[in-house]
């Protein structure tokens, strides 16, 4: 099963430091080696919003949400079960500190 995990950092989360970079680097390396992590990346804070209403398309520049709502990064994970996904998410949260993840199963291409 494939899952998309998105990460939102809380305002109370510490600014990323060297320790965090090192631990994240190791975590990512480990998951890649285990064949679990298919793709991952960080997201720029601003972003662009494209909205449609009837025939009308509105494009607005971000940031379009409160900081705590902003998605900071994503990971596409391939595991055998939801429990495995949750276990990995738990480990991820331990590394990055305060904040929350959203996890959705990905269907098809």
């Amino acid at each position: 099963m494939r899952y998309l995990m998105t990460n939102k950092a809380a305002e109370t989360a510490p600014a990323p430091d060297e320790r965090l970079h090192a631990e994240m680097g190791k975590f990512i390396e480990e998951l890649t080696a285990a064949g679990v992590l298919l793709a991952t990346g960080g997201l720029e804070p601003g972003g662009i919003r494209v909205a449609s209403h009837g025939d009308e398309i509105t494009v607005t520049d971000g940031p379009y949400a409160e900081a705590k709502e902003a998605v900071a990064g994503f990971a596409l994970i391939e595991v055998r079960s939801q429990e495995e996904m949750l276990e990995l998410a738990r480990r991820f949260r331990k590394i990055v500190g305060d904040g929350e993840c959203e996890i959705h199963q990905v269907f098809g291409p």
Partner: protein
């Protein structure tokens, strides 16, 4: 399962390979290592529900398991020798950046794919130890029974322990062979998932995922091996087509008809990346790199028409040199059929029809059907698709092939076809069970190889020659001749007289002369008082005449010349001496004609023998060879030092 149970299970699946690998290095026995790891798992199940799941559950399990391993080693006799090493290893554990953990997992992989194990055991053990799958999960994935998988895993662990297979990375000398065994196991797992060989579903995605994970893991552990990256590239790209290769009702969709928009671009890109790593690793391309390169060609073509078939045919040509297997040749035929036209492809495919390895392989007639269709030879194509359908064990594939056959209009005149003809031939009521079984075996092969719907008049001697040579070319002369007789008999019945024109009977090697029964045993045998007159006479006659058993049993009363002690049997004379001469008049007992040796009972009304085998006076039938042989064997069991009893042929006196 409670939440904690599920968590423990998930942690186990993610971490077990590392834990078992680390423990195996300590205790040098993978079976014991697994037991210790399972003990740790039990502790987790006991403690986590109350104390909560620890921050780093994998490390927790590893620590507990290692403590148990240390206890075990202390208890064991070899404690002293091992203490030193142990101290060293525990020190290493302080340093999590150490690479030993990774190397241990690689060692474990080489161990579970070790050539001392049979291939199914390698597969099961690898999924169990490296994938963390339970026996039940493996059994489900392979549609096998759980007890069988449990046994297979236990036997594999025992074999590794008995053969004292070391927990080491292979040395340079055996590196290539050992690595290719690991790659083979992973690709086997992938293929079992990708094209399930049996069952109703075309794919079992769980197995594909396991194989991909194992491959990706191996690629990190052995990054300098081009073939490892080749295999990963091959699997990623093949897996990228998963969604596109089955239709709405589970039927297979062929590569050139797949909706390429449904190909998983992420996996394709991962495949390309793996391919780049393979190229960077360097060396002459091996079989996996070549297969991956072919997969890359397909993945790069935006539409089926854009496929670079010339390039693919060239790659298959290179592959067929490394792996001259019929399957590779068949794939090459497909590529050549696309690159140089269907005629060229068909010519290549036709070289495979006489290959015994492919005689039951459904893709050969399926490929031929494709090529024939493109050549406009519709009727032949239809038959090939039907034959392919009868050969596949996969339900979805069978339905698909039958539909392909039905899509071709049957324009030929209604002709009698092979399948029903054979059924009629076997359905006659004058064949006994044994003949029926023997005929059935021969003709089933003909049906499978030529197809049930082949018009009977179109069956040629060349086709029959090919089928027989492919199936039984290596068989013993006797088997060969039996099949030939069946086909001749069928040909005559069906009015196809020259069906076996291309085939010749083979000389059957004479059986080595049976050891004659020793004089002491003979004396004991004939000294017995419980023998019936018939047996006594038959055995004396066989002994004194040294004539073939068949000839003696075929004797009739009217053939006997009692005065001259001889009888005419077929084209030869059977002669005897005084002992037989003394017994014969009593056995004849006034009969004037009919079989000399009679069975004990009258035949059942439904099994009336030929008149020549019936006694006109008593109504009994001639004693059969089988019955006579059976009685002799029973009677001589006590005489034979081996306890088997003798055969009638062994009665012949040594002359």
């Amino acid at each position: 399962m409670t939440d904690v149970h599920r968590t423990v299970d998930a942690v186990w699946k993610l971490e077990s390979a590392k834990i078992i690998a680390g423990l195996t290095r300590m205790v040098h026995d993978v079976g014991l290592a697994e037991e210790l790891a399972q003990d740790a798992l039990v502790s987790a199940l006991e403690q986590w529900p109350a104390a909560g799941v620890p921050d780093n559950p994998g490390a927790w399990l590893m620590t507990v398991a290692k403590r148990r391993a240390v206890d075990h080693i202390r208890r064991s006799e070899r404690a002293r020798q091992q203490h030193e090493r142990l101290a060293h290893e525990l020190q290493q554990d302080q340093d999590p950046e150490d690479d030993t953990g990774r190397d241990d997992v690689l060692r474990l992989m080489f161990l579970s794919c070790h050539p001392v194990l049979p291939t199914p055991a390698r597969v099961a053990l690898t999924l169990h130890l490296l994938g963390g799958l339970t026996a039940a999960e493996i059994a489900r994935a392979f549609l096998a029974g759980e007890p069988m998988i449990v046994r297979r895993i236990a036997e594999a662990k025992r074999t590794l322990a008995q053969r004292q297979v070391p927990f080491e990375l292979p040395g340079e000398a055996e590196q290539a062979e050992r690595l290719s065994s690991v790659l083979e196991v992973i690709y086997l797992i992938f293929n079992e998932g990708y094209s399930a060989t049996s069952g109703d579903d075309l794919m079992r995605p769980g197995l594909c995922l396991e194989a991909l994970r194992l491959g990706r893991l191996l690629a990190e552990l052995a990054p300098h091996e081009a073939e490892v990256h080749g295999l990963v590239a091959l699997m990623e790209i093949q897996a990228s087509r998963s969604a596109a290769r089955t239709g709405p009702s589970g039927e297979p969709v062929q590569l050139h008809e797949q909706n390429r928009g449904r190909w998983d671009q992420l996996l394709i890109r991962r495949g390309f990346t793996a391919m780049l790593r393979a190229r960077q690793a360097g060396g002459a391309p091996g079989p996996y790199v070549l297969q991956a390169a072919i997969a890359v060609c397909h993945a790069q073509a935006p539409t089926a028409e854009d496929t670079d078939w010339k390039q693919i045919a060239t790659l298959y040509h290179a592959l067929s040199r490394l792996q001259p297997t019929p399957i590779v040749q068949l794939n090459r035929a497909v590529a050549v059929g696309m690159a140089d036209g269907p005629q060229a492809g068909l010519e290549l495919a036709d070289t495979l029809t006489a290959d015994p390895a492919l005689q039951d392989y459904h893709l050969l007639p399926s490929v031929r059907g494709d090529l024939l269709l493109r050549l406009g030879r519709h009727q032949e194509a239809r038959l090939e698709f039907q034959r392919a359908a009868s050969l596949t064990r996969n339900a979805a594939e069978r339905a698909f092939l039958l539909r392909r056959a039905e899509d071709i209009a049957d324009t030929g005149p209604p002709l009698p076809t092979l399948g029903p003809a054979i059924e009629d031939f076997l359905g006659r009521d004058d064949l006994d069970a044994q003949t029926l079984r023997s005929y059935g075996q021969t003709l089933r092969r003909l049906r499978l190889s030529l197809g049930d719907r082949t018009p009977l008049p179109s069956v040629t001697a060349e086709q029959v020659t090919r089928v027989v040579t492919t199936a039984w070319g290596q068989a013993a002369a006797k088997t060969w001749n039996r099949h030939l007789s069946t086909l001749r008999s069928f040909g005559t019945w069906a009015g196809l007289d020259d069906l076996t024109a291309g085939l010749e009977r083979r000389a059957e090697p004479r059986r080595p002369p049976a050891q004659a029964i020793g004089p002491a045993q003979l004396e004991a045998l004939f000294g017995r008082t419980d023998l019936s007159l018939r047996e006594r006479t038959l055995w004396r006659l066989l002994h004194e005449s040294a004539a073939p058993v068949k000839a003696v049993l075929s004797l009739n009363v009217e053939d006997l010349d009692l005065d001259d002690r001889r009888a005419r049997a077929g084209g030869t004379w059977v002669t005897w001496r005084s002992q037989t001469a003394r017994l014969l008049p009593d056995l004849v007992a006034g009969r004037t004609r009919g079989p000399l040796f009679l069975s004990d009972r009258r035949p059942a009304p439904s099994r009336t023998p030929a008149p020549a085998d019936l006694c006109p006076q008593t109504g009994r039938r001639r004693l059969s060879y089988e019955r006579a042989e059976y009685l002799f064997k029973q009677a001589t069991k006590t005489l034979d030092p081996a306890g088997n009893g003798y055969t009638l042929r062994q009665l012949k006196s040594q002359q």
